[in-house]
């Protein structure tokens, strides 16, 4: 039944996780999230005024995410600097993944900018980015209902697994399903899928992801508590 994963993890075992808050002093809030060999930084600036009309709403503030891989972060060739179609799409789904927990009603006509930078990648970059961004938003003091926890689930060789590494993603029939979960409600705010999967396996994968999100949640909360320990603010 159980398959052998290249790094000998169990099917529901996450790679080692580390997180920190307040790593970028210039930013209004920041987070750092490492899962396996994937490392994401996130910095939050705002809420602040914007002169761009299409970003403004008169009834509430808007979130804007920018996802970027550093040129040397990939396993293969150098990543050309400047946005790609891929990075634009990821930025968009990150906004949708994070917006549901934010309450920007008191910041009309303003925007909150989140910059996510990957310094090292080994699959699961958008999920690591969302985890880091969520820490950064909380660190910035943005009103939030909860944090957001993200992880990739999927299947390799027909078996449902969690947190695929690049090596696993590259296996022929691997299915990759990045998801984000609001831990307090169990609701899903990011869902994408690449690959072929049975309906019952999807359900199983989502349950696996939901269960793992509580582990990620603990690490994120600890990062925030560690920063503010002893009443120290910054």
């Amino acid at each position: 039944m159980t398959i052998k994963r290249p790094d000998k993890r169990k099917i529901d075992e996450l790679r080692p996780i580390e997180a920190k808050a307040g790593v970028i002093k210039r930013a209004d809030g920041s987070g750092w999230f490492k899962i396996g060999n994937t490392v994401a930084y996130a910095a939050v600036y705002g809420p602040k005024a914007t002169h761009l009309r299409f970003l403004k709403s008169p009834d509430k503030g808007n979130l804007r995410c920018h996802y970027n891989m550093m040129p040397f972060s990939g396993a293969g060739d150098r990543v050309r600097p400047g946005g790609s179609r891929r990075s634009k799409e990821i930025s968009k789904v990150m906004e949708d993944a994070l917006s549901p927990v934010l309450n920007l009603d008191n910041f009309p006509n303003s925007i909150v900018e989140v910059y996510v930078e990957l310094s090292q990648t080994d699959a699961g970059t958008r999920c690591a980015g969302i985890c880091a961004a969520s820490i950064a938003l909380a660190d910035a003091g943005i009103p939030m209902k909860d944090l957001v926890c993200a992880v990739a689930v999927g299947s390799i060789k027909g078996e449902v697994v969690i947190d695929l590494s690049k090596e696993e993603e590259d296996i022929g029939d691997a299915v990759d399903i990045p998801i984000a979960v609001i831990p307090s409600t169990g609701k899903i705010t990011l869902l994408q899928m690449d690959g072929i999967l049975k309906r019952e396996d999807l359900k199983k994968a989502l349950e696996l992801g939901k269960a793992a999100s509580s582990k990620i949640y603990e690490v994120q909360k600890k990062a925030l508590k560690d920063k503010f320990k002893g009443g120290e603010s910054k």
Binding site: K25, N37, P71, F72, G74, R78, P81, G82, E117, S119
Partner: protein
């Protein structure tokens, strides 16, 4: 003159800076090697709260027609908007281009690297080495932090091995390193009023009159310079700034081991 500049100058008249440092003091410097696992070489430098990461990637390309037996290096700087609220997403600004080019010249003009050794077959195939500077937090002095991180990343970089089809195998690095005959180190000396300072903060960078970046080698020779700022310098001032840069360069070079 704005009040803020006046304030900084009044402090400098008493040899004291806004953050309590003396004019010739650097903030705490730290250097960590191999900070990005997928790069063939990498390093992170912190100067105070300023933090820069540099990664080195090797790619195969064609030599330039005028130098068919040489490979080359390419230095790029990304002033990531996460590092400073004044940085915007988009193509590199003139400030980022200047940091990249000044860092590039410090390495290139020292002749520390033998570009002929980057050639695989003349006129056909050579290594092109990309050295990318990414800012993580900018609280001043990106010039010196970038140059130091770049040289550290180059020093620890290893060539990828080649697959049977001749393409690079990034998963298997060879033990071959980029040989450096010298280690050029850049120091930027700023002039505010008639005083000199090193390692400026953001505030000091906003009010300076002129600056001079000097790259020096371990034998004391100079290998690249760049003057910036609107005010002119006398020959005596330049000589003094070079002296400071040489002295501080020795201090920074120690971090390279």
């Amino acid at each position: 003159m704005n009040d803020f500049k006046k304030h900084i100058k009044q402090g400098l008249d008493k040899d004291i800076r806004l953050d309590g440092r003396k004019p010739m003091d650097y903030r705490e410097v730290s250097l960590q090697n191999d900070t990005s696992k997928n790069a063939e070489g990498s390093a992170t430098v912190k100067i105070g709260n300023t933090e820069v990461i540099v990664g080195v990637k090797f790619e195969l390309g064609k030599p330039y027609p005028d130098k068919p037996d040489e490979g080359t290096i390419m230095v790029g700087a990304e002033f990531l908007p996460m590092a400073n609220p004044e940085f915007e997403p988009g193509p590199p600004t003139i400030d980022a281009i200047e940091v990249a080019r000044v860092t590039d010249r410090g390495i290139r003009e020292s002749k520390a690297m033998d570009f002929k050794k980057l050639c695989i077959s003349a006129g056909e195939k050579c290594w092109i080495i990309s050295i990318d500077i990414c800012t993580i937090n900018d609280e001043g002095n990106l010039f010196d932090a970038s140059a130091l991180a770049a040289i550290a990343a180059i020093k620890n970089a290893k060539f990828p091995s080649l697959k049977e089809d001749g393409s690079p195998d990034y998963k298997k690095l060879s033990s071959k390193k980029l040989e450096l005959k010298f280690t050029p180190v850049s120091v930027t000396v700023y002039k505010i009023g008639d005083k000199f300072i090193v390692d400026p903060t953001i505030e000091e960078q906003k009010v300076y009159d002129s600056r001079l970046t000097v790259a020096t080698m371990e034998d004391g020779r100079l290998c690249a310079m760049q003057k910036g700022g609107e005010m002119p310098l006398t020959i005596e001032e330049i000589d003094k700034m070079v002296e400071i840069a040489t002295e501080k360069g020795k201090m920074l070079r120690k971090f390279l081991g």
